[in-house]
Symmetry: C3
Subunit: 391 residues, 3 copies
């Protein structure tokens, strides 16, 4: 580990933009419910979700924020968490994250979770919203639509969704639904109608390759930055089809239109770095991997991700969902991993301190501000009138 | 390298379960024959197999066990080995491995090698057996079978093979024969008969996609843990088809049935780690990579493998074949690499010592005991009546 | 970073063979033109190409050679470079590289660049030539050929090209044109004629799968070592199709014919290492990745590449194109990264010093000499009669 230095101080003080996360649960969790939120797998008999790198990191770095000793036993942790209540737990971790702005994906919420405004209030920060496109399409289908009107209604619903105040980006989980080995061309109207007819008749979640492609091209029409899940996630993935390199043909066809943010990326973060180095519109983060690999490996993952990535192209996200521990841990891992690697380079005279401080501020905050613009770069005050944390 | 500490001591004293290895050669080897067993390639003119990371590790860590200085020249090494004779060489390295139980794949033996009982005796340890499914099918074919009886006879032969005492698992080399981009569905009886007809008429080794799939589903019926070669091996592979992520659809269909142990995995160990994190039945090791990368890189490979792997899901194997040096080196690399990474985390206060010791014991021994049950967790005494090393 | 030791000294003094590079620009560059040569992407508004790992490395390690302070601001760097003029800039960096021989790919030159002889003269070194096969085929097409004569004329043109003095290898950019998921069989004459007919009628660059395969098999007939772009490059790639593992079937069919040199490889350098470990004819380097990842990550990339690679199989290349900074940086990164990793192993007593020195000399120079023979191992004097740097 690097000796702490000025880069550590700068990153510790930097109000991060967490450009992709989810809400925190707004209910007290049973021990089992809490444990299951610690992993991307399910809860398995005889295998504690605490016995993972993320679980170890929670006991080490989150326990003290609940007034417990470092490395507290899981049972103590869960008991103390329950005693404090979800509001206090959320408040402590969200504030500890030191994030100034959260960009919240509101399209995934199997549990009752905070709205962006509630997250912002608990954190003493600001929040923006990210609209999930598959959810829009599924809502259109759910309320009933003729196949021939599908494209227009999805477009209208998406336009309406992104016109709401505070919306800064759209997101697609095409990686989950079909993977990225898609025909890169914009589907013809007739093709969309036909595919919509099939899907609307059959029901279920949207996973038709034509309709998934259609949503990616809808994102291009909407004009907002597009966040794409890539790499690591839950068992619903086919990991090898979530390699962002598979998107190359589509990136060629959409160059010059919208920014594309590759989320998570691990274990394809080098592939994502390549794309960010050769496509103007491509950005990446290593969210989700930060808290799942924990502080012991964040530096390593960040170093791989930064091997060839232009410093304007890396962003910070936690991809935390459900437990506010992860909003905190993501930030902690990012700050520590990035500070260690930059400070070591400064100490070895491979990088000037001024450059290191600039890279830290860019990746932790400024790249997101530059990309998303005013709602992120000039966050509104909270409804309460209490000034938001200065970012 | 980490300063040695209590985790090093604990791992040094731990009787490992080497859950996947092969026999050691039971004959004196010529210099060329020995050298060719050092690599996964063949012996090439002008390129000494000692000029590899594995060769360097053998000269460094195995020479002293043959009473030679560290880094002994290859010629000295080979001469001394020949002088000691294969029994003594096997005995020294197998005992030095400190393994308490070896699970021996008896289905690959181009050379005359030790039986599990002979390996156990030489090591002063216990041994169990792993039955290779392709070999069963090929034996059935070799003794003559009608296509329509193929499935039933393979099933019966496999049942008979796994009912023998000491058998703890089956293994498939589907990775070599077809790769993992297989139809995940259980093949229909008629399909198997038809494919068997084609294969039995043509002869050769079993590489028909339907029959390879059929063996994977036969493993499900047998109910024993299934070891799967994945990743690194010899030139017979198509490495990219041995990426375990390609198995995802099959893992979904077989969830809730048998444990699946992904062997070797390198360079897809992160993909394997993902599968182990999201599928209850998936486990992994980085055998083979341990001695081929050598002590200089084992820690790095283990760290990548452990980035998100639940601590209940990593096992130890050497995958040693032929030269007992590798049964020893695998163990040495595993102990040192894992101890270095865990001790460093303890020293940095990222992990408690108690947790580190638990993770060491789990991955080196207890996960295998838990998974394979009594033949591994309560190894029988050796036939000689000499008590086996306590595990 | 390792404490400098004898391995660092040895590598600092070693006249490298840069077995794959391109010419340096023979014109003064505008600030924009220079900046765009720093990246594999294009120049993008608002994103300085200096804000990359390569840009940081140029300011750190190249600025002093232009009499500027370390970490000089980009504007100062570009101004000073212009003031010195391209001849002096090229001379300083090429000499600083300490390469004794450059093998120059003359088939890619969108800018006016040095010939091999000019590069040699500026460097005070020797130069050999690498002939790009796609360029040969495209020249044949450009001067007009009947489809039925295509194969014979390409073969004749290639024979003529490689018979010129100083030519040591051929190169293919099949990775760019089709990727490696090609039919591994030698295409039949009729197939080639038919494909040539289609291509000659349509025009454009050669990207027909049959004709790309035909060039790979033409290389086999020519009998010279074949350099293959793999992995990292510009946006024209589909990165996942440049994974060298996809070449396995072709490598089986061509075993025993020509050496195959996998260039760059990142992020598939472990896959390349596997191929080099199991195929006698396969070699690799991590050129391009060296200067793009910079000194901060070269060691890491080299360590991964060397995990299982036989020490006879790794070569050095810069893959520098256009700016002589990269001929220098590649060499600097290789020397430092390799010295750090070998010296650390010596210091930990994992490797003897004699072995470390041998591995350093092999990978930096001797493997290339052995592979390419006299034009590399006994470089001619420069035309000027000035003795070339002793290699």
């Amino acid at each position: 580990m690097a000796a702490p230095g000025p880069v550590h101080e700068a990153l510790a003080a930097l109000p991060l933009v967490d450009h992709h996360c989810h809400g925190a649960v707004t209910a007290d969790l049973t021990a089992d419910a809490f444990a299951s939120l610690l992993t991307e797998g399910a809860a398995w008999p005889g295998v504690s979700p605490f016995d993972t790198p993320a679980g170890v990191a929670v006991r080490r770095h989150c326990a003290p924020l609940l007034d417990l000793p470092r490395h507290a036993p899981p049972a103590d942790y869960v008991a103390r968490r329950a005693r404090l209540g979800w509001q206090e737990v959320n408040r402590r971790f969200l504030r500890a994250s030191g994030a100034g702005v959260f960009c919240v994906d509101t399209g995934y919420a199997p549990h009752p979770v905070t709205t962006p405004a509630e997250l912002a209030a608990a954190a003493g920060a600001a929040a923006c919203e990210v609209v999930r496109l598959e959810r829009i399409a599924e809502s259109v289908a759910a309320r009933g639509v003729a196949a021939g009107a599908y494209a227009a209604e999805v477009r209208a619903a998406a336009e309406a969704a992104v016109r709401r105040p505070g919306v800064v980006a759209v997101k697609s989980v095409a990686a989950y639904r079909t993977g990225f080995a898609l025909d890169p061309e914009r589907p013809a109207a007739a093709e969309v109608t036909e595919a919509a007819g099939r899907w609307l008749a059959r029901g279920g979640r949207l996973a038709d390759p034509v309709l998934v492609r259609h949503l990616l091209w809808t994102a291009v029409e909407l004009g907002l930055p597009l966040q794409l899940h890539t790499g690591f996630g839950d068992a619903d993935l086919r990991l090898h089809r979530a390699d962002p390199a598979l998107l190359t043909d589509w990136l060629h066809r959409t160059a010059g239109t919208i920014p594309v943010l590759l989320l998570h990326c691990w274990p394809y973060h080098r592939q994502a770095a390549y794309l960010s180095a050769v496509f103007e519109q491509v950005y990446l983060d290593v969210g989700l991997a930060l808290h799942h690999t924990g502080p012991a490996r964040c530096r390593a993952v960040l170093e791989e991700a930064l091997e060839i990535t232009p410093f304007r192209k890396l962003l910070y996200s936690s991809d935390a969902y459900g437990v506010a521990e992860f909003h905190h841990l993501g930030a902690l891992c990012f700050r520590q991993g990035l500070a260690d690697l930059l400070q070591d380079r400064v100490d070895a005279d491979e990088l000037s301190l001024a450059d290191a401080l600039r890279i830290a501020a860019w990746t932790g905050r400024d790249n997101a501000r530059r990309l998303y613009g005013p709602p992120v770069s000039e966050p509104a005050r909270e409804p309460s009138g209490r000034p938001t944390r200065k970012v």
